[in-house]
C-alpha cells in the first residue's frame, strides 16, 4: 500500500517536472500564433514605487495595440512583476522570466541597479533587453547587441547641462546637487568632463540620499558659495525639496534640472512660485503640447489609468513600447520565423521613424551604444507653473 502511494507520488512529481521544464516548442520562446510574451521588472512597491509610472505607460500602449487587434494578429502579453527596485529580487524575477515563463524579450523595465544586476544574465541568454529606464553608463555602454537603451546617457546630459549653464545663462561657476546613486554619479562624470572645455568652475557638488528628509544642509552650504548657476540632478520629489529650501533662503541663482526630475509633480509639490523660471532638460515634448502623438498619449493614459497625471516617466514606458511594437510589426508573419535574433535585427532596421512619441527614432547596428531609442534632448522652462518649450541659442 505504502509502496504504491510512493510510486504514485513519484510519478506525479516526475510528470509535474516534465511539464515545468519541457515547455520548449518549435518556435521562439514566448511566441505563439496568438500571443507574444514581453516581460518587465518594475518597482511596483517599495521606496522607488513612484517610478512604476514607466510600467503603466508601457502597459497603456500595449493595451491600445491589443485593442486594435495586436501585431499581426498576435496579442501582446505584457507581464510586469514587482522587484521593489531591489537587485536581489530582480535577479530572481528575471530568471523566472527567462527560464520559467519563456519571455520573448525583456521590454521597458525600470532601474539602474536592477538592470545592472541582470544585464549579464539576460545577454548571456541572448534575450533582447529593450528600452530599460536607466541612464547609468554601465548599462548604456554594455557590449552586447541584445541591449537597446532607452534614452541618452546621463553623462551626455551632464555635458549638456554645463553647456546650457555657460552658453545660455552665462555662468562661470556652477554648483550641483545630485542623487547619491548611479544616475547622479554619471551626471557628475559628464559635468566634470567638459568643465575645462567651457571654462566653467564646479564650486560645489553635494549628494543627497533618496530617503533624506530635507536637503537644507546642502542648500545652505551651496548658497554660501554663491555659484552663478545651480544644476540639479534630482528626482522630482527631491527637486521639489530643493526648490522649497532655495525659496526659503532667498537664493536667486538660475536652476537647471535634469530630465528625470522633469515632472509636473515638482511644481505641484513645491508650489508655483518656488519653481518659477527654472529650466528642465527633457527627452519628450511637454504633455500640454498640441502634437497629435502627445494628445493620443494623454487620452490613452486617461482611458486606461484614469487616476494618473501624465508625466515624463509614463512616456519612458509608452514611447519605448511604441518602438517595440514597431519592430514586432517588421518581423515576418510566420511564427516559425520569429526569433529573438530576428527581433534584434528588426529593431536595427528602424531608421528615422516618426510614428511615435519620440520625434524621430534611428537605431544603428552593433552594441548598446549604437542602439539608443532616443538620442535628442530638448529644454523646457517653467512659466506660470507650466512647462514651456525653451530653445537654447545653439539649437536655433
Amino acid at each position: 500500500m505504502r509502496r504504491r502511494l510512493m510510486v504514485a507520488i513519484v510519478t506525479c512529481l516526475a510528470a509535474a517536472s516534465v511539464t515545468l521544464v519541457d515547455t520548449a516548442r518549435a518556435q521562439a520562446p514566448g511566441v505563439s500564433d496568438k500571443e507574444i510574451l514581453l516581460c518587465s521588472y518594475q518597482p511596483m512597491t517599495g521606496k522607488e514605487s513612484t517610478y512604476f509610472r514607466m510600467g503603466k505607460g508601457a502597459d497603456v500602449w500595449y493595451k491600445h495595440v491589443n485593442e486594435q487587434g495586436g501585431v499581426h494578429g498576435r496579442k501582446i502579453n505584457f507581464k510586469m512583476v514587482d522587484d521593489q527596485y531591489n537587485p536581489s529580487r530582480t535577479t530572481v524575477v528575471v530568471k523566472e522570466f527567462v527560464e520559467r515563463d519563456n519571455c520573448f524579450a525583456i521590454a521597458n523595465p525600470l532601474g539602474s541597479a536592477p538592470t545592472a544586476a541582470v544585464i549579464d544574465y539576460i545577454t548571456e541568454n541572448k534575450v533582447p533587453l529593450i528600452g530599460a529606464g536607466t541612464g547609468a553608463a554601465k548599462n548604456l555602454e554594455y557590449p552586447s547587441r541584445y541591449v537597446f537603451p532607452l534614452y541618452p546617457s546621463y553623462k551626455t546630459e551632464g555635458q549638456d547641462l554645463v553647456r546650457f549653464a555657460k552658453e545660455e545663462l552665462g555662468g562661470k561657476t556652477v554648483s550641483l546637487l545630485y542623487q547619491n546613486d548611479p544616475s547622479g554619479k554619471t551626471h557628475i562624470e559628464g559635468v566634470e568632463s567638459v568643465l575645462s572645455k567651457y571654462g566653467v568652475q564646479l564650486v560645489a557638488k553635494e549628494p543627497y540620499e533618496k530617503n533624506e528628509l530635507d536637503v537644507s544642509a546642502q542648500v545652505i552650504k551651496m548658497k554660501a558659495l554663491n555659484p552663478d548657476v545651480h544644476l540639479c540632478s534630482c528626482a522630482p520629489e527631491h527637486a521639489a525639496r530643493f526648490f522649497t529650501e532655495r525659496q526659503k533662503l532667498g537664493w536667486k541663482a538660475p536652476v537647471v534640472v535634469v530630465f528625470f526630475g522633469q515632472s509636473p509633480k515638482v511644481v505641484e509639490l513645491a508650489g508655483k512660485e518656488a519653481v518659477e523660471g527654472a529650466y528642465f532638460s527633457t527627452i519628450f515634448r511637454r504633455p500640454s503640447s498640441p502634437d497629435p502623438q502627445m494628445r493620443q498619449f494623454v487620452s490613452l493614459l486617461k482611458k486606461y489609468y484614469p487616476n494618473e497625471e501624465p508625466d515624463a516617466i509614463h512616456m519612458w514606458g509608452y514611447a519605448g513600447a511604441q518602438v517595440v511594437t514597431e519592430a514586432l510589426g517588421r518581423l515576418p508573419r510566420e511564427t516559425s520565423k520569429i526569433t529573438r535574433d530576428a527581433l534584434v535585427e528588426s529593431l536595427e532596421t528602424i531608421r528615422d521613424w516618426k510614428g511615435g512619441l519620440i520625434p524621430s527614432v534611428t537605431i544603428g547596428k552593433g552594441n548598446a551604444p549604437e542602439h539608443f531609442l532616443i538620442r535628442e534632448m530638448s529644454w523646457l522652462q517653467v512659466k506660470n507653473g507650466d512647462f514651456e518649450v525653451f530653445t537654447p541659442k545653439w539649437m536655433k
Binding site: N211, L213, D214, S216, A217, I220, K221, T244, Q247
Partner: protein, 289 residues
C-alpha cells in the same frame, strides 16, 4: 552659515521628535518597540488629505477627524494584535509591529496608490528671520507643537492620576494591577495617546515631506535613534535626542560633506551607547528588557 545650519537642523530634529515621543511612550508601558508608529502618521496624512479634498478644505475638521481615525487605528492594533501576545518577550512584540508595518504599508498603497501627493501648506512659504537665520513658518510651528505636546505630556505624567499610573505600570505592571490600576485600559490609553501623537505628527509633516506610503521611512529610523539617545524611557530625553540628531546631521552635512549626513546619526548612536549603555538620559539600569 553655522547658525543657519543649526537652526535648520533643529527644524529637522523637531520633525523626528513627535515620533520619538510616541515610540518612548508605547515602549515604556508595553516593552514594545513600535515599528508601526511612522505608519500611523502616514495613514493619518492620507486621511487628512482625503478629508481636505472632500470637506472643502477645512483644516480644523481634517485634523480632528484624522486624530480620531488614527487613534482608533492604534486602539484596533492594540486590541487585535498586541493584546493576544501581551507578555511575550520584546522581540516577539517588535516582530508583531513589523507585521503591522507591512499591513499598513500595503493597505495604504492599495487604497491610495504609490504616488507622492502634495499636501496643502498650512503656512505661507515666506520664511521668518531670527537674528539673520531663516526658518520656515511650518518648521517653527512644528517646533512649537512639539514643545507644547511635550509640555502637556510632562504635566500629564507628573500630576494626573492616569499619567502617574502609566509611570507605575512602567515600573511594575503586576504591582500596578494589585493596586487596582486597570492595566489593560491604561495600556490601551497609551496606544491611543501614541495614535494622537502620530496623527499630529503626520499632519505637520505632510506639507514638508509630502504624502506617500514611504513618507515616514526616514523619520521613523531617526525617531528611534532619537528615542534611544534619550534613554528610551525619558520623554524630554527623546525630544533632546531628536534635536541633537537633527543638528548633528546638518553640521555633518555642512562641514564634513553631505554623504556623512545620513550616516552621522548611526555612528553617533553606536558611540553614545558604547560609552553610555542606557543612552544620554537613561539613568541607572532598569529591569532587563
Amino acid at each position: 552659515m553655522l547658525a543657519q545650519q543649526i537652526v535648520s537642523g533643529l527644524a529637522t530634529g523637531s520633525l523626528y521628535a513627535l515620533t520619538a515621543i510616541g515610540i518612548v511612550l508605547i515602549f515604556r508601558n508595553t516593552r514594545t518597540i513600535n515599528l508601526a508608529q511612522g505608519d500611523f502618521s502616514m495613514i493619518g496624512a492620507f486621511v487628512a488629505l482625503v478629508i481636505l479634498e472632500h470637506s472643502g478644505g477645512s483644516l480644523v475638521v481634517a485634523t480632528l477627524v484624522t486624530i480620531v481615525a488614527v487613534t482608533a487605528l492604534a486602539v484596533v492594533v492594540e486590541r487585535l494584535i498586541m493584546r493576544p501576545i501581551e507578555g511575550s518577550d520584546w522581540l516577539t512584540l517588535f516582530t508583531a509591529t513589523l507585521g503591522v508595518f507591512y499591513i499598513l504599508h500595503g493597505v495604504a498603497g492599495w487604497i491610495w496608490g504609490r504616488d507622492t501627493k502634495s499636501f496643502p501648506a498650512l503656512f505661507s512659504s515666506a520664511p521668518l528671520s531670527i537674528g539673520g537665520t531663516l526658518i520656515s513658518q511650518a518648521h517653527l510651528f512644528n517646533i512649537l507643537v512639539a514643545a507644547v505636546v511635550g509640555g502637556i505630556l510632562y504635566l500629564f505624567f507628573r500630576f494626573t492620576k492616569p499619567g502617574i499610573a502609566m509611570r507605575a505600570i512602567t515600573e511594575d505592571p503586576v504591582a500596578a494591577q494589585l493596586m487596582g490600576i486597570p492595566v489593560r485600559s491604561i495600556v490601551l490609553l497609551t496606544w491611543a495617546v501614541g495614535g494622537v501623537l502620530a496623527a499630529i505628527s503626520g499632519i505637520l509633516l505632510a506639507p514638508l515631506v509630502y504624502v506617500s506610503t514611504q513618507m515616514m521611512d526616514g523619520v521613523l529610523v531617526k525617531g528611534y535613534v532619537g528615542a534611544v539617545f534619550g534613554g528610551l524611557y525619558s520623554l524630554p530625553g527623546a525630544v533632546i535626542g531628536s534635536l541633537i540628531i537633527g543638528v548633528a546631521e546638518n553640521l555633518a552635512g555642512g562641514y564634513l560633506g553631505a554623504q556623512y549626513k545620513v550616516t552621522i546619526a548611526f555612528v553617533l548612536i553606536v558611540l553614545v551607547l558604547a560609552l553610555k549603555p542606557r543612552g544620554l538620559f537613561g539613568g541607572k539600569a532598569r529591569r532587563e528588557i
